[in-house]
Amino acid sequence: MPFLVWLQQTAIARWVGESPSIWAYPTILALHTVGLGIVVGINAIVDLRLLGAAPKMPVTALDVLYRPMWFGFALNAVTGCLLFAAGAEWTGVKPLFYVKLALIAAALVLAVRIRRSILESDAEAALTGRARALAVASLVLWAAAIFAGRYTAYVGS
């Protein structure tokens, strides 16, 4: 695809992908993994709490975690775009990569919905079956996104 070819030839994409510097591809990839830990780790904390873990943790206090969660997401949006550009011709033609993006989008929509409909309402809501169902769905979506991301490196186009 012409767009993917153009993208991978841009100066920034070539620096990320072709520079021998440890600060190019390897460090950007490591930062992407740090962001993964922040985003999915925080969502796991919220989901586990809604499923009954850590009863001393007030459900209404879980919203303090959303600001660092969005920081982690911003880090991964930026590093993810750089990593994609560096390998656009290969990654951009793999359907599994777009499955990963769709899973992340769905999981983020769910994270916002959990905050609005459960964390910001009274704590009682956390004990309902609906809250548990949303938490399970969130955990499944994030785990699936991790698997899709990892398997993207293995599958062909």
Binding site: G41, P55, A61, Y151
Partner: protein, 168 residues
């Protein structure tokens, strides 16, 4: 170390795992990341609370209740990490990045054990919303840096030069 690697590769377990690499590697890597997420999320949350962040909203005892889930994550990552190491030990022992990763893992674990032994029982007596003592801040900071270093050097494994005598 050479003798150990040669012995390990000669074991049936190592050869069986290596023979299954086509499907086992990608699956184990994915699970390794799932474990990483639980460690960074749950241990990182407690570390930040130890350092005094979020203290107006979250008690130490509450943040500490997620530690068992960090242990679940660590178990998943250790088990899958052992699959990589037992399959291909010669890839790892020659890499400075791997030794750095293992060293920071030992530091993170020792730090956690010291915390539990020295402060574990006293945690519940502390003012739930109060400022944490300097010793807690130091332990939380060491833990956070050590776990991020484990992640960093792990992710760098394919990219950093061996850095050690690699005649295996």
């Amino acid at each position: 170390m050479t003798a150990f690697v040669v012995w390990l590769r000669s074991t049936a377990l190592s050869q069986t795992l290596a023979a299954q690499a086509d499907w086992l590697w990608a699956l184990s890597e994915s699970l390794h990341f799932v474990g990483l997420v639980l460690v960074i999320g749950c241990a990182g949350f407690f570390d930040l609370r130890l350092m005094g962040l979020m203290r107006n909203r979250v008690s130490l005892a509450a943040a500490r209740q997620f530690i068992p889930w960090a242990q679940v994550g660590l178990s998943i990552s250790l088990a899958t990490g052992l699959i990589f190491f037992i399959s291909e030990p010669q890839q790892y022992v020659v890499k400075a990045a791997w030794w750095a990763k293992v060293s920071f893992l030992v530091i993170a674990l020792a730090n956690a054990v010291v915390f539990e032994l020295v402060f574990g029982r006293r945690l519940d007596d502390l003012d739930a919303r109060g400022e944490t003592p300097a010793s807690f801040k130091a332990i939380g900071f060491i833990s956070l840096v050590a776990w991020l270093a484990v992640l960093y050097f792990g992710r760098m494994l394919p990219y950093l030069e061996p850095g050690l005598n690699s005649n295996l």
